[in-house]
Symmetry: C2
Subunit: 345 residues, 2 copies
């Protein structure tokens, strides 16, 4: 079978094209110079013998695998598919492929890190929080890491994130200015760094407004957990809260559906509901969420750039870039002055 | 810096653990036998010297990279993130990682195939249609391919797919039985194999019912294109159609919003709207789509199994597995007898 026959080498190509082996290498190396006529001769010869450079073997020589690992958790948060596609395309434009790791719970990260070390990736983008021991393993192996939408307090690891606290402060401030007095929160999972920042940001701003004793029920970012969360809140108090702050848009949508269907409430007349993310379903006409949109495209491009710089130069110090969200007034909350979306603050 | 120091080898581990190098190999090889005490000694020694087997180098020896490529197009179709997560987790359970390739248009597949050959993947799952020349390249390299939700007419390539035509036949049959007489279709992109099957399946069943001259407007699977599609249909005729068949759920949602908001129509009283996919947003209470749900979990597991069998034994003949969808009566269409969801036919 032809499948088992000897693979063509760069020397075969060089012989047929009548050029040196190093010329063949140059043609196949990204960013290296080669004249158009040289490129044409080499590519034709390569097609003839079925030659194809081996990215993996080349990686063993250059110490580069041209692969980066992307760790994603909680894909139920509809914001992440968009992040993943944009990261993959941005890396792809630089000739780098994405090796994907999905995890259900952030507690799975240790075993995932062991695995990605085995694949000798050049770098790691993680939307799950890595802890000290895992970071040390990666650091010891000389593999740079960029955190996506989370950071370590000590600034020891590079990070790109949206300012979750600022976003929540805007939402709470607007709701407060519109006269909302009783609030409730549907948080994300306890082990989600993004949810923790959003919830604590909202609670801090509420406290500044003199509002304490805010009930918090925990969801898991899913639609069903948003519905369930609102039902839980209604069990706690005789009346619905003036405003519910959901830790993401999908839970806000579930919350709205439960308020309307199960309790016959009008949104936002009887209860205001706000979310976070600003991805696709937030704009569905039945919901038109009051939310904060994350600048996903700018964030993913910053992530790719930050990681590639550190693959090139591992001695660069950690860097953190914080992006402001965009306040989207929407129609799911009574706000003082409905306006166009605007970058915060 | 420690990053530059010599990497520990399996011989270092063997020396410290007081065992042979082949014993160390066995401990780190998936599926190979080693006693618990042996495993413990070796793992402790490995941790001590920071040894970690190199999956890539091992791949060069075993002729396996333990990576498969997954090609996904059109991530705007909200069904695909779920597919991707399930594929990644199912492969991961077998110790195989997913190298992700996202493409915007199916016409980009040739350059993507060139790239994945360079990464020496063990196999390919593709949700984009590969053509003859690309399949020959992969076949020549001995890399098995499984098509996801598409197939070649000649059965030359293994495929796992949902029976799109059967699903559309069920939708059209139910709508016809409920007395709908004028129909319209919002299709997906012209180069989407799934959309082509859905649209032609619906048209065929409509023809059987004696309904021809069905207007078809083209969308791109997005919410906005569903809205725009319905507006287009309303320009063509004085009255809305009795039923609109959208090629996916997200476009059906857009279509419903446009009918309600821009034309003041009630769904399903004035117009019935049906979708396809049955993923998350289909269940949002404001839409509760009448749709066909694909058995994504069973389909992804069949895909993983089919590919792994062919990586083990490249001489296995191509196989095609066709899964029936589940008819979901929903609330966005007037159907003869609202019932529980049921597997088709």
């Amino acid at each position: 079978m032809s499948k088992r026959s000897r693979k063509a080498t760069s020397y075969d190509v060089a012989r047929i094209a009548g050029v040196s082996q190093s010329a063949v290498s140059r043609v196949f190396k990204q960013g290296a110079s080669a004249s158009e006529s040289m490129r044409k001769r080499v590519l034709e010869a390569a097609a003839e013998v079925g030659y194809r450079p081996n990215a993996i073997a080349r990686g063993l020589i250059t110490q580069r695998s041209n692969m980066v690992a992307v760790l994603i958790s909680r894909m139920t948060n509809l914001n992440y598919p968009e992040v993943l596609v944009q990261l993959t395309q941005a890396f792809s434009e630089r000739g780098i492929r994405v090796l994907l790791f999905t995890i259900e719970r952030e507690s799975e990260t240790p075993s995932v890190v062991e695995q990605l070390l085995q694949y000798q990736v050049d770098g790691v983008v993680t939307a799950a929080t890595l802890q000290g021991p895992q970071l040390e393993l990666l650091d010891g192996a000389g593999i740079p890491v960029v955190f996506y939408n989370r950071s370590l307090r000590d600034g020891r690891v590079s990070a790109v994130r949206c300012d979750q606290e600022q976003g929540e402060r805007w939402l709470v401030g607007e709701l407060g200015a519109a006269g909302h007095q009783s609030f409730a929160i549907i948080s994300g999972p306890a082990d989600s760094a993004v949810s923790v920042e959003r919830t604590s940001g909202a609670l801090r701003r509420l406290k500044e407004l003199g509002i304490t004793n805010v009930p918090v029920v925990q969801g898991d970012y899913s639609y069903e957990s948003g519905r369930h969360g609102f039902a839980e809140l209604m069990k706690m108090r005789a009346r619905p809260p003036d405003a519910v702050i959901a830790a993401n848009d999908v839970m806000a949508i579930g919350c709205i559906d439960e308020a309307r269907e199960a309790f016959g409430l009008a949104v936002p007349v009887d209860v205001s509901v706000v979310g976070f993310d600003g991805a696709g379903p937030a704009a569905f006409a039945a919901y038109r969420l009051t939310t904060v949109r994350q600048p996903v495209e700018r964030m993913t491009h910053a992530t790719v750039q930050m990681l590639l710089e550190r693959i090139e130069d591992p001695d660069l110090p950690p860097e953190e870039r914080v992006f402001a969200g965009t306040g989207v007034p929407g129609a799911s909350a009574r706000l003082p002055s409905p306006e166009e979306p605007r970058t915060l603050p």
